[in-house]
Symmetry: C6
């Protein structure tokens, strides 16, 4: 599945560190980028921001997102012939399309794809910057503004599914983590439409739950999860019920995890009582 | 498989707790909903009710149900071209169709689907609310009244089949359990057409069998199962035989379980003797 | 594979217990039926009988049998488009066909089917009684005389292949076992064309072999197997050779089982010497 | 793969025991036959003989052999549409073809087929004697002279691949073993074109090697293997070399087995020195 | 993949033992041949020679080689319909083609094929000598000069992949090993274009490396590997470097193996220093 | 995926040892080449160089690269028919194309391909030098300037995926390792556009990290990785951050590895402080 982005307003994104500068250098040096980090941490937003930031014209740099999965074929990325009115017509896939026109092609959760998907990017991601299209019988040289980005979550992956060294050593890696508490407060307030006090408590709750995530064998709540809780609160759901619904039940099925989170919620929102 | 619902009478549904309010807040806040709970507990009915409850016009909010399974493809959800009279015609799948027109799209037992099905909903279930349709070469922005709902049964799932964190953290979770005894009595009486005394005994039987479900390593009987027993009784099958048929044999193949349930049936229906 | 039945003579079937009454109540109460029992016990015959018994007109209630297997697809059950003379024509599958016209649709050995087959019957087997047909873009409401029946053999199934609780709790279960000895004697005499004395001995042999089936780790001989022995006898094969051929070699490859059965045959047919 | 047989000369076959009579009774009683026995023991020949023996007219009863395997589909057995000159034409598969016209349909090594193949014969192998052909939308009732035969080798099968009880209890079983030594001598002499003395030694060698087959963990040499050795001898290959080539190397890759067989060959052919 | 051979010059092949006579007797006796032996030992050359040797006319007996693999289908062997200019045309596969016209059909590394490939040769490899072609609706009787040959390498095969007894007992087996040292010297000199002294050293090296192959857990170097070393030498690569490249690195990735071979090379080529 | 190369400028490549001479001898002796070595070591560059070096005319020898993967089919290598305007047209695959016209066909990471891909090269890689094309019904004899090259990384491969001996003994093997430090300094300076001092430090860092690669259970950083670090530095990213991004995070997800590399970076770039 691929999503085209051509919004023209500046995307809401607050940098965590020097990720914007490093990305820009990789872009200028024509090196593909590997984004590492947990789910819901803002990787898509960061790229939406970079596609705006790197634009040299009035028009935003194009961005196509492909969510990788087991069923993704080379044809889904590169293109295929479709039958139309008894005749066949070629339709560029997102990778070929962006390679032609320039822009960011983002392969989200690359390790979910089969190895053949990884392999198809090899010639695009080294000094050749070429994409052979055997069905068309031609080889496309990538546009000078073509930028390949792949992402994955090192904590989430099983040991079986891993990037091959011959793939990963083609990339410059940028790591994104959970945002610092103050920054996360800003984001939750902005995205959920709650006041700063509620946003602060939700950010605090996030930090506390993440602190027990290894013990509890869970993936810690993403900023998105905290925003969800905020939105329920802003629509009248009581804070504890909102956190139960958007945080505890959403991140785990384990009753002990639910109890632990409920206690943290109680501690964080005690001031409301 | 998808089922379109466009009934106009108010569906029979009695809330267990605040699930109606939380669902309404999620709908207003444009957050997808994850329904958790055992089989036969009324998840489909709840959504039929919500699609009636959320309707702002005379017409009920549309609802499409897709029962997920291993063979479900992205094409089944999004749509496909069919050949017709030598020409090809595009048919929207239920997910795309509801994304266009608004309504509830309900993916029942989501964990039964392959990962690619989960992945196709990613861009629809975050801030983008977009569904790319590569075959059409366009990206659909979801209707403002589009509501995505997925369900699964945490007790029933094997540990292998689980929602990925990058999927589940996109949802606000609502849990539905077995209804309280008085409520279940009402439901059984209403749906099976038996008098309150019989309905009470069946609800009591349900409670008692569920109490031993962990020991007996079974999934406890759903309200549906109790309704079935009621319907057999109302058609002249003796109560014990009806419970044997609709409860004991239906929920297990284990002779010890059958014996245990038979004893509970005897205890519950002793007053009839 | 599906077999249409439209015979008009009354099928030969002698009830074991109250299965006819319970089935009739399930039919009237619009509840799907799960038939449980060992192989060759007469499940197909019972349903042929019920389709005759439930007929309210001169014409017998229609019955379609589908033998489930790994390769059975949703298309095999619901229907598919076929190319004909350059044009496509839709052909209803047996499930859709019976859902439209009424009658019994019998899915034999349901656990042999993949999960997607089970899932396709979900909306047909609860209060909705609907079958969505995505390829046609419509949803069929089942005929008022539509009755869904599935069967399986609890003793035979491996633990891996099992009905999901979300499937099995949709059914009222009826169990059929080996017929009582007197009844089995009648059946063997009628079906094999042997006199009562031979039929009695074969029924006795059946009972004796079934008594050792657990020790011997075999599935006991079905009534069908005894009928086969009877038919060989009636065509001049000596009784011992007929039982060797139709019973011992047919139900097992184990030499010890063969020896044990041979001894039972000798005991049962000693009177002939 | 299926092989049609319509030879009119009487096939060379010498019965081992009463297999001809039992087969004839099964044919007259309309019961399908399960042939059990090791490889190369003459199962195909036996059926060629029976198809000659059962013929009631001048023309031999038709026989179709299908060698079962993992890739065999229901379509291979029942039939399929083929494209021809822009139009589709139906071609009967061997099972449907013989069901229509009568004759023996022989499914060789049935356990090698997937379960769906076994399932397709269910309705043909019980009282229904019907073959539903969903693609044609009709159900064929088998010809009165239709005889279904399946075979398998109980010693050769792994425990995983086995006939389901619901399949095997539909059959009357006939077991064929290695022929007695005198009979095997006749067969080898006839088929290999060697004199009786050589044939006797080869039959003796066969018996001796089979005697050690369990210890050596091999499948004993079939009569066919002995015929091969005979044919090499009759074309001038020395007896020891012929047995090395046709027996030792052909039945095993194990050097110890080769040595053991070579010693037996030396003992058996010592008289030649 | 299949390779047609119709060369008319006599192929270069020096017999190891009586393999030519045995093969000729098998050909005359219409028995299929199983060639056993390690890789690169000259099996293809032997068959090229036999197809020349067996020719009774001016034209060499035809030979088709099929390298077996997991993806080889029955259609690849027997034939298939292809679309051409809107119409379908049948193309014989190599097995059917040679069965029609006579010649050697060689299935190289038969155990690499799926079982269905093995099964398709059953009726061709017993007294029937027939190939049914279900797609054409006919059965081809093999040409009198049709000779089926299959090969495999017993040492190389895993225990999982093995010929079924019902397949292998249809063949007369001929074993080819590494050629004796003098013969191998001749072959290397002839094929690599090196003088006898170099060829002798390479043959000696081959013998020495094969002597340690079991200890080192490698497959010993084939004659082909020694020819490669000779060719590098004849083109100016120093002998040690040539043996490093063509022998040590080519047959193993294990550093200890490399060291051991290097020592043997030093010993063998010491005279050059 | 295949990439055609027809550049006319001399590729930048500095030989490590005698690989150019050995390759040239293999080319002249018509022997296929197996390139062994770690990822990013310059295998593709070496072949680009050889295709320039071996050219006898003004035009560079053609080169086609195919990145092997699980989904690569024989059709991808050899060719296939495509539908075009209602008619079918044959398109040569890269292997067939280069076999016809001459040039280097490079199968990168051959062990990633399924066995059938390896098998298709068998007849091309021995004395036959032929490629059968069953779909075309013809056999192509390779051009005299056709050179087959395959590569793999012995350290990287799992033990399951390995070249079969019957495949690997067809090749002359050339091993490429990490370049010596002075050479690597030249390459980094040239490719990254950094001054010699920075290049020296990066080459030193590469050597140091490779020295701990076995302990740390990682694949050591390729020259490409060092070039990436250099390019970030030349675009203003501080050296430590550049090494963090391009080396540490890129080659591993392990925090201990990151720490170890960070210490080495500190040691190497200490002089900058």
């Amino acid at each position: 599945m691929n999503v085209a982005t051509s919004r023209t307003e500046k995307p809401y994104y607050i940098p965590q560190a020097d990720e914007v500068e490093v990305f820009r250098a990789a872009y200028q040096g024509r090196m593909p980028v590997l984004l590492k980090g947990p789910t819901g941490v803002g990787k898509t937003r960061f790229l939406e921001y970079m596609s705006w930031d790197l634009s040299e014209t009035d028009e935003q740099l194009r961005m196509e997102t492909v969510s990788c999965n087991d069923d993704l074929t080379v044809g889904d990325l590169v293109g295929r012939y479709v039958l139309e009115g008894g005749d066949t017509r070629w339709i560029d896939g997102p990778l070929l399309s962006v390679a032609r026109t320039g822009g960011i092609c983002y392969l989200d959760e690359i390790v979910e794809a089969r190895k053949d998907t990884m392999v198809v990017i090899h010639s695009l991601s080294d000094h050749r910057r070429e994409l052979p299209v055997s069905r068309l019988g031609e080889t496309i040289t990538a546009h000078e503004h073509f930028q390949l980005v792949v992402s994955y979550n090192p904590g989430y992956q099983s040991t079986v599914k891993d990037l091959k060294d011959s793939t990963r050593q083609r990339f410059v890696a940028i790591e994104l983590g959970f945002p610092p508490e103050a920054l996360e407060t800003d984001i939750v307030a902005h995205e959920a439409g709650v006041d700063r006090q509620v946003a602060e408590r939700l950010a605090l709750l996030g930090r506390k739950v993440r602190a027990i995530q290894t013990d509890m064998m869970i993936e810690g709540p993403s900023t998105r999860v905290l925003i969800h809780a905020g939105r329920l609160i802003s629509r009248g759901v009581p804070a504890r019920r909102a956190c139960e619904t958007a945080v505890a039940l959403a991140i785990s099925d384990d009753v002990e995890v639910h109890t632990a989170i409920r206690e943290l919620v109680t501690a964080v929102f005690a001031a409301d009582d």
